[in-house]
Symmetry: C2
Subunit: 569 residues, 2 copies
């Protein structure tokens, strides 16, 4: 686990709170709230020592944490529970983001002026939930923004985030933005049930001359719009000057801040530069100010960072923002692979997660190129579930690796169906397997029978996994017919003809690996690993190994002839 | 850069060589070869201080290195040039693998008994070369192994690697393997021009009881076969006992060792365990023994490792194998995503490259499921080019990031064609872009016109990149018709109907973003970023920024109406 920051939210208490025991500041018992104080946010409840229903639910969903631990992390500012009171009334299932909890994944979506519709976006929302998104941001800039947003908060069980400045300038020039419009816009979205909001209050007028030192300037939409506002008016960023008023609105509904990084780098060349670091210092100050208003805070982080700079970036944020959960976009670790940026960025995201980021904002294959389609949303989600899970495994969060180990056991037992059932995308895994071989036997098409190291290993010694209840399979089984999704996967891969896919789907007579006259698959040689040789080896081998291990030859005659005991799972 | 190991190949010189200056052991000038010695391998030439043609070629291909540096790295054992003398006579273009050179990528292929043919494999070879594989391993275990291997070495410009034990047991039981068969098999492949060979000499009889402590035992094919041999004969690994004789054959043709890790973990649960480390110690001893025979050495590394253990693994190998180039498979950082293991493993590969691995063996989406098809080979290559490149950028190898920065400049200038030309897979990037928008204009379908931060940034200030010669574009251009590859990409994505793809391919009248009555695209609002507002802002903005930057409004009327100056690139 990365080290703890020196300060916490307990060091930035609102005016009116009295500390009765300075030596134990980080303890609810040491504080007295102002007279008549009523907690509104999860942070405020935690400061009072209260365990809310939402904290209990979080502990239920993350069994390695107790509800009291969740409360303490929230009170310290190191964890947020983005749960708008209005969204709680409808469909939200509370979750938490922070270093003590599992690493989370956010999926961005939203209609653009060029493409998409409300139905399409709700469809993408469901799809993102299916593929494991822990939160969803509605970044719509086109269509009916209000209707889309309401549809999202009505339908989603996961927290919904937005960037409220987008809706503030619909039908309005950015220059015409003022404090009233800002507060009205944020209030309207808070009432609609938005759980967290990105506000780009960290980019300051004094930062703007640094923009021209960059190769690609500002790539944050909010950041670039506010930069334009500041240039036109020659005044400070209105999100920053109105910060405490914005906090007031957010506090009322318990909307969590996601303090936006308007100066995030748009290429490796601009990463960790003077501008990004200048803004990060300001993000720390905004964190302190929000905590003094009782509002929960996440901080957003960079989009393009070379691998060697990621750990440093995480450390700088942890120090300057006092452990407020870091929510990073990617980052991409190279710029030159457009079309594959779900991969370039999930490499950076894994490293970021391992070094302390709490939520990873996905990047899809369409990044830099166009609006993601449904399959892009899936590809982005999967890449980021990989990143989040790999980071959690590396961090040693208890229980995280259990499923990996179960799958390894199924693999060792050559139990294909269990292998696929335990995998993240069973349809895909099954389709890829069946593309070459439509029976589940003791090898795969990668090596064939004689060369399957797992099969040979099983021959050498039987070990716990293969014998454990529920793993051993023991005989060849005909797999079930392809389902629609699997058929579609194979169609899109384009390796098999429609007729071959149909044959596979129907599990018709013809087998992909035809048997020869002796009833053996043609991949089975007469020399390596045949039954007689294996049996003759057994006694020697038993003597060789310490604890009475046996050589177990799988019943490969069944495996290839398929004549005696075919069965369909 | 990771630190240097304490010892080098200069500490493991063959018998008969005399050091004349112990204080400067790591210098060819300090050594006298035995009388009548004739150098055969690149290592031996380097020990004599000779710069070979192959070293010169390597320096030509990697401009950050001089030929003398290449020689010195080869002499130290930290770099290999896998270049069989027979392959040099035909098609090989020499390359180098080592910490001082760029990180390399290997693509595995080869017919299995279940699937594929010689033509298919040669086709995959060409394909892997196209997608950037630096070496290719022919791991055929089916079909005509000799013919496939000869076809590979005849056609490939990249080094070819093999695992010679595979061909030794064709038509023979593994138990019948003996020293004569081993040496004959290796000699035959060396004469065929194989550039490097994996030999699993590190797994010892004493290691076998450790296998049963694992969840998935041995997953290396060579390792499991040799384990079976040892169990049957109750004798030591014949590859190990015959090591010096094998070295003799390899030295003659200058075949490079890739010392195989027969005990590589097959799941996270088995990573960095007693067995893997016991074998690693032996791999170090084999490295020393090979260097004493004048043979070049790489060492192979683990396939499944949690992210937090990768740096340690690299350090252990560097120390124990004295800096011999580390050639790693993946490693996968989670087990539960079969079908996506090109991604799970390229995360680990990037980290491995950054922490010191010199060559990354790709993993394709079909890993654990079946034999890779052509598109799987591409997906594996691309993921690993990303990993290798990201590692090189993070290591700061001079010049590595140039292309990323050029692409960032093209992106900043909204020069789409240049953006795609500079990208790794231009066809894919273009197809994804054109899926939504068939003109190259000053925004993309992700945000649309009004929300394009890059366009707004360009409006705020003009910076060097956008003005640099060759980047500025200045007007909207109609992109060229789709080529076959791009059409195929869109077909497989399945988002557009065949008719829509055809329309796009033909660039027929209909546009995906139709213009409204005023000739503007419907994604262009009347309020944000319109020309008049932008122009009125210009003087203020010019005053605001220090060095006389100007607000430059792109000619967006052209961008949307497309009426005046359409052109086709």
């Amino acid at each position: 686990m990365p080290p703890l920051p020196q300060k916490t939210a307990w060091d930035f208490m609102p005016a009116g709170w009295t500390c009765t025991d300075e030596a134990n500041r980080a303890d609810a018992a040491s504080w007295r709230a102002p007279d008549g104080f009523e907690a509104s946010t999860q942070l405020e409840h935690a400061r009072l020592g209260t365990i809310t229903k939402q904290m209990e639910r979080v502990a239920e969903r993350e069994p390695h944490l107790s509800a009291a631990q969740v409360r303490d992390e929230v009170a310290a500012g190191r964890m947020v529970i983005p749960a708008n009171k209005n969204h709680l009334k409808t469909s939200l299932d509370p979750m938490a983001i922070g270093r003590a909890s599992k690493t989370k994944v956010n999926a961005n979506m939203g209609a653009s002026p060029v493409s998409s519709s409300i139905d399409e976006e709700v469809d993408k929302l469901r799809w993102a939930e299916k593929w494991g998104a822990d939160t969803v941001m509605d970044l719509s800039t086109g269509g009916d923004l209000d209707a889309t947003r309401v549809a999202m908060t009505t339908h989603s069980t996961v927290p919904i985030g937005t960037v409220p400045i987008y809706s503030m300038i619909i039908g309005r020039k950015i220059e015409d933005l003022d404090e009233e419009i800002i507060l009205d816009g944020i209030r309207a979205q808070a009432e609609q049930g938005v759980d967290y909001m990105t506000v780009h209050a960290g980019i300051l007028k004094s930062h703007l001359p640094l923009v021209k030192k960059r190769l690609i300037g500002l790539v944050s939409r909010g950041g670039s719009l506010l930069a334009k506002w500041m240039l036109v008016h020659q005044r400070e960023n209105p999100m920053n000057t109105s910060w405490e008023k914005i906090c007031g609105v957010l506090r009322e509904h318990d909307v969590t801040f996601s303090i936006g990084d308007g100066c995030r780098p748009g290429g490796l060349a601009d990463a960790t530069d003077e501008l990004q670091l200048a803004e990060l210092v300001e993000l720390g100050k905004l964190t302190e100010r929000a905590w003094r208003c009782g509002v929960q805070v996440m901080v957003e982080g960079p989009g393009h960072v070379p691998l060697d700079q990621i750990e440093f970036n995480m450390k700088a944020q942890r120090h300057l923002c006092h452990g407020a959960p870091f929510y990073v976009l990617g980052p991409l670790v190279t710029d030159m692979f457009p079309g594959y940026d779900h991969i370039t960025s999930c490499i950076g995201a894994t490293s970021a997660g391992y070094h302390g980021a709490s939520m990873l904002c996905y990047v899809t294959p369409k990044e830099h190129l166009g609006l993601p389609k449904k399959d892009d949303v899936k590809q982005g989600c999967v890449a980021y579930k990989i990143a989040a899970h790999a980071a959690d495994v590396a961090l040693g969060i208890p229980g995280t690796r259990d499923n990996d180990d179960e799958l390894t056991k199924a693999r060792a037992a050559l139990n294909w169906q269990k292998h696929f059932d335990l995998s993240f995308d069973p349809d895909l895994a099954r389709a890829y397997h069946d593309e070459d071989l439509d029976v589940d036997t003791d090898f795969c098409a990668m090596c064939g029978h004689d060369w399957c190291s797992v099969r040979i290993s099983k021959e050498i010694s039987e070990w716990d996994s293969g014998l454990a209840e529920g793993f051993d399979r023991g005989r060849t089984v005909k797999s079930a017919a392809l389902n629609e999704e699997q058929r579609r996967i194979l169609e899109q891969r384009g390796n098999l003809s429609p007729a071959e896919i149909h044959k596979l789907a129907a599990k018709a007579k013809g087998k992909l690996v035809p048997a020869d006259e002796d009833g053996r698959a043609r991949c089975h040689s007469d020399h390596v690993g045949d039954d007689e040789a294996a049996k003759s080896v057994a006694p020697k081998e038993a003597a060789a190994l310490a604890n009475g291990d046996r050589l177990v030859q799988l019943d490969t005659s069944e495996a290839h002839g398929l004549s005696k005991a075919d069965s369909v799972i």
